[in-house]
């Protein structure tokens, strides 16, 4: 682990080709047993973009994300990846969940290898896993089991597993939500490093306004318009400045206040 301090800037592996894909939401709606949760979501995510999906809990953020991976099917409309509709589980996506969801009986290395696309040959796979474990700074822990590492480390394994797919779209469902505040900040920086090493399209569900401002190119706010029961896109903001952003930047502060207000929180009290 100490060796990683010696190379402060991460050098993108040469083997990476940019395979980021476009994601298009067309009138996506979802009902559960007659109760409409999402209504008419339209959104275009350009390849390589980082888009944060922000909203109060229970507004359908995760459901929207699951419709991209194919873990859930929309009741109305469709999701397109690179112009083709998602139909069933889509192997162009990779998911990291809020919980690491690692297999407890497998080592860190073998958990990451679960993410390799089917049919990856052994040497390529091993090389890719070694590269990823170095990227998430877990190369020294490759033989440990999930219960022998911390929550933050487990979440990094989960990220590495998702990246092992070389996904065209990386779906992150509140991946840092269960981590302590300090670890969360470090994981956000790590995610930016990952994104510069593997410039894929990233959809990030979060309820953390600061996280969205720090990581995203654009922020989608999901919410229920007055009188509506289902959530839809209520705001679409472009975050100013390029990453990594200064967390104390003034224009971000103003955006933070207005976002918190749109989520029903009085920003002056925070």
């Amino acid at each position: 682990m100490t060796s990683t301090l010696d190379h402060p800037t991460f050098v993108a592996p040469t083997s990476v080709s940019s395979n980021a894909l476009r994601v298009t939401f067309q009138g996506v709606g979802r009902s559960f047993g007659g109760r409409e949760v999402l209504h008419d979501v339209d959104l275009e995510v350009t390849p390589g973009e980082v888009v944060a999906i922000l909203g109060p809990s229970g507004c359908g953020k995760s459901t929207l994300l699951r419709s991209v991976s194919g873990l859930d099917q929309p009741s109305a409309g469709q999701v397109l990846i690179d112009g083709t509709a998602v139909n069933g589980l889509d192997t162009r996506c990779a998911v990291a969940f809020q919980e690491p969801r690692l297999l407890p009986w497998k080592s860190v290395t073998n958990n990451v290898s679960l993410g390799l696309p089917a049919g990856t040959d052994r040497t390529t796979g091993a090389a890719r896993i070694a590269e990823l474990l170095e990227l998430v700074e877990l190369d020294a822990y490759s033989d440990l089991r999930p219960r022998e590492i911390s929550g933050g480390m487990a979440q990094r394994v989960s990220l590495a597993r998702a990246l092992a797919r070389r996904p065209g779209v990386l779906l992150l469902d509140e991946p840092f939500g269960a981590l302590d505040a300090l670890t969360r900040l470090k994981m956000q920086d790590l995610l930016l490093d990952i994104h510069s090493a593997y410039p894929t399209t990233v959809l990030l569900v979060t309820h953390d306004v600061d996280e969205a401002l720090q990581l995203a190119d654009r922020i989608v706010v999901l919410g229920r318009p007055d009188g509506a029961t289902a959530a839809t896109v209520t705001q679409l903001l472009t975050v100013p400045g390029s990453r990594p952003r200064n967390r104390n930047d003034e224009s971000l502060g103003r955006m933070r206040s207005s976002l918190l207000a749109s989520l029903g929180v009085d920003a002056h009290r925070h």
Binding site: W105, L114, S150, L190
Partner: protein, 273 residues
């Protein structure tokens, strides 16, 4: 930014892998476990030598010991133990394999559950001894009927634990597996089966105990060899020393086989859970 990149901080140190502490060393634990049997032995010896009970009710430990020596001398004890152990192991193996198969089938397939679940549940409700007359009629008094009875006894604990464990595999893990493209047999062998390995071993442990139980049931009723036969034979001949010997042997052998499976179970929990 680059300075923040290092995640090498205290909270990322690997968590300690040690479980809850058991007081004392292994040797201490064995000593502690032997305490009660030794106490019983002392009480038993005192009861017989001080004349609290008559030797017709309870023979002394030494006379039980000499009964054992006598039976060993005639070459009978080895035969009894051998045949009983063989019956248990064969019946246990058959029952466990069938229990695994049916447990996996009914646990994984909604259709198989709907089709077979009620029937298997009903068969489980039949008390073990109720099978004996039927099995004897069908298979005569031989090894087949006894092994079948023991297999029935071993089947249900394995079936039930495997079935329930497969039903309760962490849905999040399965979803993660599906999200990474696993399905069907691949999902089963990568996630579902490994997840239930510890449960399988505790099922096997219960099944083995049950197999010994059913062995005695089988041998009490119809046999000419084995520890169960030694029990009835001694009862008929009034050899209470042999009777107690048989009970002690059942306890010791049963505990020994249980300890072996227990070791395997601990290994499985360490490896798979």
């Amino acid at each position: 930014m680059s300075a923040d990149f290092s995640l090498n901080t205290k909270e990322t140190t690997p968590a300690s892998a040690s479980g809850p502490r058991i007081p004392g060393s292994t040797l201490g634990r064995i000593g502690l476990g032997a305490l009660v049997p030794l106490l019983v032995l002392v009480l038993w010896q005192s009861a017989t030598s001080l004349g609290w009970v008559t030797s017709a009710q309870l023979p002394s430990p030494t006379s039980v010991y000499s009964a054992a020596v006598d039976l060993i001398g005639r070459g009978e004890l080895g035969t009894h133990i051998g045949i009983s152990t063989q019956r248990v192991l064969v019946g246990f193996a058959i029952g466990a394999v069938l229990g695994l198969g049916f447990g996996a089938l009914v646990g994984l397939s909604r259709l198989a559950d709907a089709l077979l679940g009620p029937t298997i549940g009903a068969i489980r409700a039949v008390p073990s001894l109720a099978w004996v007359p039927l099995l004897i009629l069908w298979m005569k008094i031989g090894e087949d009927s006894k092994i079948t009875l023991i297999a029935i006894g071993a089947f249900f604990p394995v079936f039930t634990t495997v079935y329930l464990a497969l039903r309760h595999v962490d849905k999040n893990l399965i979803e993660a597996g599906r999200a990474f493209g696993l399905k069907g047999i691949k999902l089963l062998t990568t996630i579902q089966l490994p997840a239930v390995v510890p449960a399988i071993f505790s099922g096997l442990r219960l099944a083995l105990a049950q197999a010994w139980l059913f062995l005695v049931a089988a041998e009490l009723i119809a046999s000419s060899m084995g520890l169960g036969f030694l029990l009835t034979d001694s009862q008929n001949n009034g050899r209470i020393d042999r009777l107690i010997l048989a009970i002690i042997l059942l306890a010791v052998i049963g505990k020994a086989t249980d300890a072996l499976v227990g070791l395997a179970e601990r290994w499985a929990v360490r490896r798979w859970a």
